[in-house]
């Protein structure tokens, strides 16, 4: 197995695990819990390896300087990296503690048994426990990445469905989120945003500023960054509205308002061939002629618009600046990277900045969290000694977060006389997904934080080079897992696109898998083969085959048993070709009002060794629901005056009235590496819906979202 960067970068056992006071085991993780339940899984893994009750395992919030630096919580790596690291840490700790126990009890270590942290030898009646053995001291040793794990048969918690950590606090409505925090002397802050990215302050009404000041409102201005703070939250919110009405903006040229799909084709771009999942610095091969013996050649273009994270709670951050040190509480998914970017923004030493993670509303990607942290820090530095809780508004979150880029995919394939794919070409066009703040040359970290564009000494948004790793950005899942003889894969990183973008759950995989798996159905039909059979015919990977077969067994996509008026579609991918395998079969109907109704859904997935069955199912099903929302409803709208998707009416998402009945099959491969499941179903869901709509209506939808207008337009075309 490849080495785990989390352990390689944080080898010390004490970074991960401590035998804590009061009979606890304290576990630190650099991946944050964003509702994917990593803390629940971590507690299960540690409880089993150490033989302690999960209730003893304290999973503490991630904090710079104390928690291991595991980069960003992204890429479905929480289990693969953190899960694996804490499991080996616990196994190392157990072995170390049992060696000590053997010496203390003067027995053979092989005779020792552990029950909830109490260590006893079968050879004597004497016993000790972890807390006595640890004496409150650090281990002082490294994690052994090969530390033997307990046999599966001896596991009590791993492989069961666990109660999610924190759930009782949540159902009781106890303070849980960053937005719920309060501090003595705290100020509430709001930002006054321009109409759009390119607007700058021409003038601010001085009379309003004076009036606000007389009411105890602090106004903080740096260039075109403008914020207000007050000890009463509602007064701060009202002050921001009043001030916004008193600002005259220089709107510049406004937003470019051309058609995004035209821009994807017409703008300058960097084009690279993709081989074995990764781009290479080489000329793009021209499209070839169909191979000899080709019986059919199909071409199709698929498109997805800009889409947003649209967190239910607007982003927020707490910041306090005192004695030259900055403390920030943030729901960022990468607090060490954020610390580096903020340190570079203010020319501060990273050690003078402490960032503590606290939960925000679900996001699955890079939303406004990091930007809000900088905003709060700017206000806090202007008002030293006062804790500042800065919250974005709904409108701000919708209009200013970095979106998932629009993409366009051209597919072309030929079939041979046996109905097999003889040639395959796939070109993907899009902007970058790689805009998370991080350290880098030329102030690239600060430049990725929104408000640095508006400071008196502004930074221009960076122009990113193409991401070159395997399955990153636009080319994530561009290379299909199928056995294809002649693949031509191309990534086009398009410049000069109009909207701010960064990482959104599954990056390019959502669009690429939508395209590939829609096209597989189009090819299957041309070949006259059942869609599931057609996929199996091109897939030798046994674990991939198993999930396709498992999903198709529950809801056969060809639909012999499909109720009248409904259609079923199947789609499959292995996320990044290295993470979880997932197959989705969706059964839909289409109403007279051209609305797509999601009736039933079968999901089958193999995510490696199963830890928390409930958490795994929630990730898979939640991924389906979120991707269904993207696919049916979501497209960021804008015009020259700015983003026009500014609330839930102008950017609607899926409601509780269109949720399919799920049958979710967790394929258990035994003791296999954790594969990470958080993004496994996003791509397959879009294609499964498109294929199901085709089966139900004969309409092939190739541009997301599949709104009633889109369905009607397809019917009339």
């Amino acid at each position: 197995m490849a080495s785990n960067p989390s352990l390689a970068n944080n080898p010390a056992l004490d970074d991960w695990l401590a035998i804590g006071p009061g009979g606890t085991v304290v576990v630190r993780s650099g991946k944050v819990d964003i509702g994917q339940r990593i803390s629940t899984a971590v507690a299960m893994l540690v409880a089993d390896e150490l033989d302690v009750d999960p209730g003893r395992v304290e999973t503490v919030r991630t904090e710079t300087g104390l928690s291991p630096d595991e980069g960003i919580t992204s890429g479905s790596y929480s289990m693969t990296q953190t899960g694996e690291a804490v499991r080996r840490a616990a196994a190392t700790a157990r072995r170390h503690l049992l060696d000590r126990a053997a010496r203390a009890l003067d027995v053979d270590p092989a005779t020792l048994e552990v029950d909830d942290g109490t260590v006893q030898s079968r050879a004597t009646n004497r016993q000790t426990d972890y807390w006595e053995l640890a004496e409150g001291k650090p281990f002082g040793i490294d994690v052994d990445p090969e530390a033997p794990l307990k046999p599966r048969a001896a596991l009590r918690h791993v492989g069961t469905a666990a109660a999610a950590r924190g759930m009782e606090d949540i159902v009781r409505g106890r303070p849980w989120f960053l937005q719920d925090m309060t501090r003595p002397g705290m100020l509430h802050a709001r930002v006054v945003r321009p109409p759009h990215y390119h607007a700058r302050i021409a003038s601010v009404g001085e009379a309003v500023l004076d009036r606000l000041a007389s009411e105890g409102v602090h106004a903080v201005r740096d260039g075109s960054f403008l914020a207000v703070a007050h000890d009463d939250e509602y007064r701060a919110a009202r002050a921001a509205e009043r001030l916004a009405a008193a600002v005259v903006w220089d709107n510049g040229d406004g937003l470019p308002s051309g058609d995004i799909y035209d821009s994807l084709r017409a703008n300058d771009r960097v084009s690279l061939p993709v081989i074995d999942g990764a781009p290479v610095e080489a000329p793009v091969p021209p499209p070839g002629e169909p191979p000899d013996g080709a019986t059919a050649t199909l071409e199709a273009r698929y498109e997805r618009p800009y889409q947003m994270h649209a967190s239910l709670g607007p982003s927020a951050a707490m910041a306090e600046f005192a004695e030259g040190r900055l403390t920030i509480v943030s729901h960022s998914q990468g607090i060490y990277f954020l610390r580096a970017a903020i340190a570079e923004t203010f020319d501060m030493a990273p050690d003078d900045i402490r960032i503590v993670h606290a939960p925000g509303a679900g996001c699955y990607g890079h939303n406004g969290a990091d930007d809000a942290a900088l905003d709060a820090a700017i206000v806090a530095r202007a008002l030293p000694g006062r804790p500042v809780l800065l919250k974005w508004t709904r409108e701000e979150e919708h209009a200013w977060e970095p979106y998932g880029t629009c993409m366009s995919m051209d597919l072309r394939a030929s079939l041979d006389a046996n109905g097999a794919i003889a040639a395959w070409s796939h070109e993907s066009f899009g902007d970058t997904f790689m805009m998370r703040p991080r350290s880098g040359p030329d102030r690239i970290g600060p430049a990725r934080l929104l408000s640095t564009r508006f400071l008196a000494d502004p930074l221009a948004p960076p122009v990113m080079g193409p991401a070159m790793g395997p399955h990153v950005g636009i080319h994530r899942n561009l290379d299909p897992l199928y056995d294809l003889p002649d693949k031509r894969l191309v990534k086009h990183l398009v410049r000069g696109m109009p909207l701010r973008v960064s990482a959104l759950r599954s990056l390019g995989a959502y669009a690429n898998v939508f395209a590939i798996e829609s096209f597989m159905d189009e090819l299957a039909e041309a070949a006259g083969v059942d869609p599931a059979e057609f996929r199996l015919k091109h897939l030798s990977d046994p674990r991939g085959r198993a999930v396709i077969e498992a999903a198709a067994e529950r809801l056969h996509p060809a639909g012999a048993d499909c109720p009248e008026g409904r259609g079923r579609g199947i789609a499959f991918s292995r996320y990044k070709n290295i993470a979880a395998y997932a197959a989705v079969v969706m059964e839909v109907s289409v109403t007279d009002a051209a609305e797509i109704r999601l009736e039933r859904c079968a999901v089958a997935a193999d995510a490696g060794e199963i830890v928390d069955r409930a958490g795994l199912a929630a990730q898979l099903e939640g991924g389906v629901v979120q991707a269904a929302s993207w696919t049916l409803h979501e497209a960021v709208a804008f015009d020259g005056g700015g983003i026009t998707s500014r609330d839930w009416e102008t950017y609607p998402i899926l409601g509780f009235d269109n949720v399919p009945e799920f049958e979710t099959i967790l394929v258990d491969p035994g003791r296999e590496p954790f594969l990470g499941a958080g993004e496994a179903t996003s791509g397959p869901t879009a294609a499964a819906i498109a294929n199901a709509v085709y089966a139900a209506t004969g309409l092939r939808l190739r541009r997301i979202p599949f709104t009633p207008d889109a369905v009607r337009a397809a019917a009339l075309a």
């Binding site: 303070p175 994270h309 996001c363």
Partner: protein, 157 residues
């Protein structure tokens, strides 16, 4: 600033606030009840739901002054005596949340529905969540919590 007397979770509370202050700011910042969440401030997402005089209402727009004399129950007030109410219990048992930001609004809405509906059913419960949004995709587990609740009622649990 005005003074307002509101009854929240069974106790009369005197608060000082600007008269147009939406109820949620008073609940959260004056009374320390953080269960209702500010999600939009536009009555579009349901995260701020509370019960007023037995009916679910949204607290993010309507002013505190409108609620003088009303009996308000927030999610914190549902677990009288510490026992979770049946909706909270069903959400806990089904792990019916991911991030949890929408959860208290959903629990309040379903509690309001069950308390005002003699013969609740699945369709009615889903309709009671009209206007409530969840971004993580916890919907399938929320629907399982609803099924569990309805089954418990049918069994007289």
């Amino acid at each position: 600033m005005g003074r307002f007397a509101v009854t929240v979770n069974g106790a009369v509370r005197e608060v000082e606030a600007d008269p147009d202050t939406p109820l949620i700011y008073v609940l959260r910042n004056r009374l320390g009840l953080m269960g209702a969440k500010l999600g939009c401030g536009l009555e579009q997402c349901g995260a701020c739901a509370v019960i007023a005089d037995g009916e679910k209402v949204l607290s993010c727009v309507r002013a505190v002054s409108e609620f003088e004399g009303s009996e308000i129950v927030t999610v914190e007030g549902l677990a009288g005596g510490g026992e979770l109410n049946p909706v909270q219990r069903a959400f806990l048992d089904e792990n019916a949340a991911q991030c949890g930001y929408c959860t208290s609004g959903l629990i309040v809405a379903l509690t309001g529905y069950l308390e005002t509906t003699p013969r609740p059913d699945r369709q009615g419960a889903i309709a009671a969540l009209d206007g409530h949004l969840c971004r993580c995709g916890a919907h399938p587990d929320v629907l399982r919590a609803i099924d569990r609740l309805l089954a418990e009622r049918a069994d007289g649990v």
